[in-house]
Amino acid sequence: AQSVAQPEDQVNVAEGNPLTVKCTYSVSGNPYLFWYVQYPNRGLQFLLKYITGDNLVKGSYGFEAEFNKSQTSFHLKKPSALVSDSALYFCAVRGTGGGNKLTFGTGTQLKVEL
């Protein structure tokens, strides 16, 4: 069975500072990894994905994520946070089982303050 852990319910950061939202995963075989963002009363928006290749992947709105196979982690990062980045962030994994099903973490609320 595949699983995702997001150890922090909330991350607070000052605007202009770098941010990191943590994610670790468990899956059989090579993982497909994703980050999604959810703004209040909205659906999930895709940010970025790792399938294969370079361990550092770049996505929308200046976000990037680093895949670390030995630590089974896929942390989301941004060099300089904006107040508008405040939202709920979900990490997800897709394993090699049928149906291309995504398993999500419990989410991390990011709060960026002035």
């Binding site: 995702v4 319910d9 497909y32 994703f34 999604y36 009363n41 909205r42 659906g43 999930l44 928006q45 895709f46 994905k49 399938i51 979900f90 897709r94 049928g98 149906g99 291309n100 099903k101 995504l102 398993t103 999500f104 973490g105 419990t106 989410g107």
Partner: protein
């Protein structure tokens, strides 16, 4: 581009009533999914489909049913609504050549 469209956006049901949440996608995706989102719990997979005529249970299927008669549509049926089904429901789809899933805007359901 419409993407994934869900209706209704909001609904209040009485205990024991039934309803169908509609989901349609215009991206010709074979894979479709229904998730529910509860506070602090992330998203849980209810049912999924790998193509028209094929459906399968996810992690939390009890109390729900689905059908997939066309590629575009994947309705979710709630029979005998219970307070435990109060949640936000998301439909999503993905294609054979797209790893990521695309989500609808959600249906907020309250059972009272």
């Amino acid at each position: 581009n419409a993407g994934v469209t869900q209706t209704p956006k909001f609904r209040i049901l009485k205990i024991g009533q039934s309803m169908t949440l509609q989901c349609t996608q215009d991206m010709n995706h074979n894979y479709m999914y229904w998730y529910r989102q509860d506070p602090g719990m992330g998203l849980k997979l209810i049912y999924y489909s790998v193509g028209a005529g094929i459906t399968d249970k996810g992690e939390v299927p009890n109390g729900y049913n689905v059908s997939r008669s066309t590629t575009e549509d994947f309705p979710l049926r709630l029979e005998l609504a219970a307070p435990s089904q109060t949640s936000v429901y998301f439909c999503a789809s993905s294609g054979d050549f797209t790893a990521e899933a695309f989500f609808g805007q959600g249906t907020r359901l309250t059972v009272v």
